[in-house]
């Protein structure tokens, strides 16, 4: 069985972890992203590679990860339930293991109508909890039908999402607990904009043993100006934040947003409940230095 990944080892220490999201290219030329890769390489503990994010068809993460591994990055590969049935999910996981990818972020996946192929068939053969369980099964050298895996068992470090600011809180807490039972090793929250928003969740889940990273999203001008509750899946922006930034002039926008986000990251760091922060820079990955 392979050794635990570098990321898994980092989770085991006390250090404050920083990860960053990177979308594969919409094409098969990964070198298009070389500049971003170069910037991220030394700044973060791991890069999270997305999987057809917002249902937009991009290069499959398994393939893109191959390239990133060659660049020497520590990776977390996202796998969504939307596009692949249980056979393909397990196949891809074995392929990932074969390439040396050990960290998997198992998520449900935004619905297909958000993306550029809205007429396509959404799969959801497994949901995120079943996927987490499936990965755990592979770790025990079995597929989910009970068949034995040939050769060594993979050693996946399993991550999943949690909605800390979801309303109502009850069902999200229930799901969180189920994920823990299914074998999650680390959690990444949906984007947090204000720590006050997570208090309801923490009231019900007083202590979290599993390492939890807070996702922080660098909002674009378009997102602030065009925001209506529900038009960006997974984004819940409070009025106080959008009001504050609606009046900012375009030229000033990004520096001000970076400043604001950097302060948020500081707050999260000091909070004590989070083992790290996951950055979603939405194309501005090269500016990561100004945030951390």
């Amino acid at each position: 069985m392979p050794d635990p990944s570098k990321f898994a080892q980092a989770l085991g220490t006390d250090s404050f972890i920083v990860t960053c999201e990177l979308d594969p290219p919409k094409g098969f030329v990964p070198s298009l992203l070389d500049r971003k890769i170069a910037v991220l390489k030394n700044k973060v503990q791991a890069v999270v590679v997305s999987d057809n994010p917002r249902a937009r068809m991009l290069m499959a993460p398994v393939g893109f990860c191959r390239y990133l591994l060659d660049q020497g990055l520590e990776l977390i590969m996202t796998l969504t339930c939307r596009d692949r049935n249980r056979l393909a999910l397990q196949s891809d996981l074995l392929a990932a293991a074969g390439l040396g990818i050990q960290n998997i972020l198992a998520v449900t996946g935004d619905y297909i109508t958000w993306g550029d192929h809205p007429e396509g068939k959404p799969v959801y053969d497994l949901d995120s909890i079943q996927l987490i369980w499936a990965i755990s099964q592979l770790n025990s050298n079995r597929d989910i039908s009970g068949n034995v895996i040939e050769g060594t068992a993979p050693s996946f470090t399993i991550g999943s999402a949690v909605a800390l600011t979801g309303n109502p809180v009850g069902p999200q807490v229930l799901k969180f607990r189920k994920k823990e039972k299914a074998g999650v090793h680390f959690f990444m929250s949906h984007p947090v904009f204000d720590l006050a928003d997570v208090e309801e969740f923490f009231k019900q889940v007083v202590e979290i043993q599993t390492p939890l990273l807070a996702s922080v999203c660098l909002l674009t001008e378009e997102q602030i100006r065009g925001y209506v509750l529900g038009n960006y899946p997974g984004l819940l922006i409070q009025d106080s934040l959008s009001d504050k930034f609606k009046s900012v002039h375009s030229t000033e926008f990004q520096p001000r947003m970076i400043e604001h986000t950097a302060r948020l990251i500081e707050t999260i760091k000091k909070d004590g409940r989070f083992r790290g922060v996951h950055l979603m820079l939405q194309g501005a990955e090269e500016q990561i230095g100004e945030l951390i």
């Binding site: 249980r86 619905y111 053969d125 909890i129 949690v162 509750l229 529900g230």
Partner: protein, 227 residues
């Protein structure tokens, strides 16, 4: 009940325009109840087609007939004699009825006049919503009478997903999140523990197409040997 709604007129007209002697066949059960294909709808469509073809100066004969149902042989047989003069049948029954009509009268060209949508309920006069996917493996006992396979857009067995906002679905903000509804219903009844364990992946063999159900009392009649 099966819910259907009439196809766009232009689409219906195009599908039958090559024929000269058309019988519009309605159905007096599900599609009549959902006001899509009963006797009245047959009359309306027939009048529209007559006028439309007449304005195109095409000589097409449109006749009307409504059967009790089109999913039983006996009702379909009642029109065998009269059907001799028609070469084209426009059926307003659900997809099952249209096909059965076609099977029963293989020499006729059969066309559908409605789109069959779902198994649903009447929330108010003229408003029907889906409730059941006919998955063949009903799990309503566990989810407190609310079906996540039908009412959750993603059809999750362990929900809600992270896209849920204020109790509403990520995809349709008018629609309540099915899993929030399930949670709240079970919480009220003190039965949340039913969804605290992971629901295993769906066994899709129950949904293998085409489905076939034989009542166990009749198994011997239809199977040579044992099942």
């Amino acid at each position: 009940m099966i819910i259907a709604s009439r196809k766009p007129f232009a689409e219906i007209k195009k599908s039958i325009e090559l024929y000269e002697n058309i019988l519009v066949v309605g159905c007096g059960t599900c599609v009549a109840v959902c006001l899509a294909g009963g006797k009245k709808e047959v009359g309306l469509l027939a009048s529209q087609l007559r006028m439309s073809f007449a304005l195109d100066k095409k000589k097409i004969q449109i006749s009307e007939e409504t059967l009790e149902r089109q999913c039983d042989h006996e009702f379909l047989e009642t029109i065998r004699e009269p059907l001799k003069e028609f070469d084209c049948l426009l059926s307003l029954a659900c997809g099952a009825g249209v096909q059965f009509l076609a099977e029963t009268y293989p020499g006729k060209k059969v066309f559908p006049g409605v789109n069959t949508s779902f198994i649903g309920v009447a929330e108010a006069a003229g408003l029907w919503t889906e409730r059941c996917r006919a998955c063949g493996d009903c799990l309503l006992a566990i989810t407190g009478g609310i079906c996540p396979r039908t009412l959750c857009v993603k059809g999750l067995n362990n929900g809600p997903c992270g896209g849920m906002i204020d109790g509403k679905c990520e995809v349709d903000p008018e629609r309540p999140c099915a899993w929030v509804s399930i949670y709240e219903r079970l919480a009220e009844e003190g039965r949340v523990n039913q969804i605290e364990i992971m629901f295993p992946p769906t066994d899709f063999r129950f949904q293998t197409k085409p489905g076939r159900v034989t009542h166990r009392a009749y198994l011997r009649r239809y199977n040579a040997g044992s099942k």
